[in-house]
Amino acid sequence: MNKTVFRPFWSYDVVKTEEWLSQMHADGYALLRIHFAARLFYFEQTVPAAVFYRIVLEKKSNGVPSIYLENNIYAAVCSTSNYYVIRTEETEPEAAPSYNGFLSRNKKIKFVVGIILLFVVMLLGMNLMILITLAGALLFSGGTETVFFSDLAHTPQTPIEVFNAVMTFAFPVIVLLTITWLCYTYFKLRITNRQLEKLCGDTLDLSFTLPKDTLLSHAEMKKMSKNNKVIKKSKIAWIYAPDKVEIWLEKMEGRGYHLVRMSKLGNSFYFISSEPRKMKFHVDYQNSTDPSYYNLNKESGWKLFFTSISRTQSNNVWGNEYTDEPPMFYSDKESTLKHARRFALTYSLSFLPLCAMYIFAMGKFYFADFFMPQNPIFIGPFIIYAVVCIELGSFAVRTILYYFRVKKSFAEK
């Protein structure tokens, strides 16, 4: 006996779907294939067994990768060009495919649905009348439909009239169903995406990367600063010239001041006086980071002294103690320049438009005929705008200069 099951929202919770497939197998139904477009699952009767299924979304995979089929741990079930399904009898196989394909796809869906929902909420909020009418229509369509139709003086006859009459009731229902579906999608994905993030090895806890042997704990530091053993140095907006801070930190270490901690926002450096040592520092900028970023650098001997609170557009201060040759965070010209370019581009592209806006606003202050240019009331804001504009502009220019310094360092070598 074969069995076909329609499961429209299977991909919103892949883990649950996989559990369901295992349950089906335990009940004597083995998965034959999945019609992904129609969301149909085809089963055939089999001997009940404990089998674990994995559905993998991998674009252009074109079949089950042979590496999983070696050693007979996994068996191929079915595959299309972008999906494959494998199963195993082992509870904890040595390696398992990543959920990353589903995670990144569901993240995109959640983002788009979120924007549509925001738009819908705004539309409804702006025009409350629509909402009230919608509620009225909903009350009518809830069971009184037939009565309403029989009461009509003129029964709809032509196809267009029938269509219009049906649409009068169907339209709000369709709208409501769509909104319900969007809400379901959004909130369901919010839960399952978090679950998938964890399954992809991603947890927000970064403490595993912190060099506990070299970094002082907060309590320890407080105790030491009471005895005046900790030296605090503050720097403002140093991030826009990271190479200069790297050199400064290396010099401090060379003079025997060990970096032990940085403040949460990264503008204060805490040192203790000790033996001079050779340390290489690197301030690394990443558009987005994941656990493997921290893990790889840590394994390669780099110690993390600071990371931004945000996981996107994050700055990270890494240090590496050495004896002969200074270790390189980026070992070739291509990736070094790429990093510097990404850093300079991101910061200057976010600051320069703001700068332009302030210049425009200042122009308005100065030239608009309803403002008296010499009126002292407007000099205050004018000066503030000018200061902010110069500041933002200087940040942007400094990041660009950093890029050129990095580029020049290769020309000198």
Partner: protein, 110 residues
Amino acid sequence: MISEKVRKAYIPMSETAYYILLSLSEPRHGYGIIKFVEELTENRIILGSGTVYGTLAKMYKDKLISIYDDKDRKTIYRITGDGRQLILLEIERVKKVYVNTLTQEGYFHE
């Protein structure tokens, strides 16, 4: 089949990218790649971790590599069909370079 765009972007390959793909003859994690390349080239090439992370991220985006396993924070990568095709193309090129090198080398020794 790998797209023309990917082929143009990767061939000829930088030494770093070449050795990273070459090391994926079996699934490895980032640090495993660094160590393997170090051994293979007898410490001639010591890859920086930032370089490896960036290159792997790019190759993953271009579907040359995929994740073999990522259960506990350690992402292990494997080469995909596209990646295999690309490295074979590059190996062919490098072989030709090697043959040309051998025939020409003698003229430069005095």
